[in-house]
């Protein structure tokens, strides 16, 4: 624990600036390491008892309900049965993002790793590569570009306007907004918690205002509960948007 506390969080002015070289190992990297290892261990130990009909134990139950959740709430709602082969990737994605978000409310860590720029960008780029490759493989390069740039039922003259808009929104804004959505949500939640914690400390230090401190503290507790919801919701939204983008490449609208 001391080691984890000793490595520093990159300062907030660095949210949009690249870090100090590939060997810079900081708290963010430590949390990502934890998230990756936790995801792997969960599914390694959760799937050991394949022959057991009735799941038992917290690991197997959470692994199986997690897979069921991704399958029923994300894949079946967007892609249908065609998308079931993406179940392993989407499940891993969901749990990795969730584990690196949930450190936001774990005492003594209290930092969502996704509140820094790098990993959301990498995950968004992986999604971008996947849906483009799926589109090119399923529809062929020419059809894929045509289907993504020309929406059905648009009158010919308006195409001059529509094609650049569709190009920007499909190939540039999609990964960018995917990245910004995850990273800015986690950063905003972290800032809210930090602000109220700093406010509590300030009100405690100033002698008279200590009577107001319980209200500030109550809101801090409430926002911590809200951030659990946000951590889950952002993992869900990132995963379901990945599924929606893959679906739009697999089944183009005619």
């Amino acid at each position: 624990m001391n080691l984890l506390l000793a490595v520093d969080v990159p300062p907030i002015s660095n949210v949009t600036i690249w870090g100090a070289g590939p060997l810079g190992f900081n708290k963010t990297a430590a949390i990502y390491l934890f998230a990756a290892v936790a995801t792997m261990l969960l599914f390694y130990f959760g799937t050991r008892r394949k022959d057991a009909l009735v799941p038992s134990g917290i690991l197997q139950n959470s692994a199986e309900s997690g897979v069921g959740f991704v399958r029923n709430q994300i894949i079946m709602q967007t892609m249908g049965t065609d998308g079931l082969k993406y179940l392993p990737y989407l499940t891993a994605l969901f749990f990795f993002i969730f584990f690196s978000n949930i450190t936001e409310i774990i005492p003594f860590v209290q930092f969502p790793a996704n509140a820094r720029f790098g990993m959301p960008l990498a995950l968004a780029l992986i999604t971008w590569v996947i849906y483009n490759v799926v589109g090119v493989v399923k529809q062929g390069p020419l059809h894929y570009v045509k289907n993504s740039l020309i929406p059905p039922g648009v009158p010919k003259p308006i195409l001059i306007l529509v094609i650049p808009i569709e190009f920007v929104s499909t190939f540039i804004v999609r990964p960018f907004s995917l990245m910004v959505r995850l990273f800015a949500n986690m950063l905003a939640g972290h800032l809210i918690l930090v602000t109220f914690a700093a406010l509590c400390a300030g009100l405690w230090a100033a002698k008279v205002t200590v009577v107001i401190m319980p209200f500030s503290f109550a809101l801090l507790v409430a926002m911590t509960g809200f951030e659990i919801l946000v951590a889950f919701l952002q993992a869900f939204i990132f995963t379901i948007l990945t599924a929606v983008y893959i679906d739009s490449s697999m089944h183009p609208s005619h």
Binding site: S13, V180, V194
Partner: protein, 88 residues
């Protein structure tokens, strides 16, 4: 560290250009939040209407609602990030 930086941000108000930067950041984020605020209200309000009319389709509506919220919210988040990028 983040806390320290927040306090530092509060203390640099003596320099007038820094203060103007802070005002600019506030205007950028405030402006960016207006449209998505209305938009998310519309999305959630209509989703609730749909769920109340057809409770059996609540699952599908909820998924679509989250998608709609995510797309609408992106604009406000662009403003949030832009407010950080602005430097005096």
């Amino acid at each position: 560290m983040a806390l320290l930086h927040l306090l530092l941000l509060a203390q640099t108000a003596a320099d007038p250009t820094k203060g103007l930067t802070a005002i600019g950041r506030g205007i950028v984020y405030g402006g960016a939040a207006i449209g998505p605020g209305i938009g998310i209200g519309l999305v959630v309000g209509n989703a609730i209407t749909a769920m109340a009319r057809q409770p059996e389709s609540a699952g599908t509506v909820r998924t679509t609602m989250f998608l709609g919220i995510a797309f609408t919210e992106a604009l406000a988040l662009f403003g949030f990030v832009l407010a950080f990028i602005i430097s005096g």
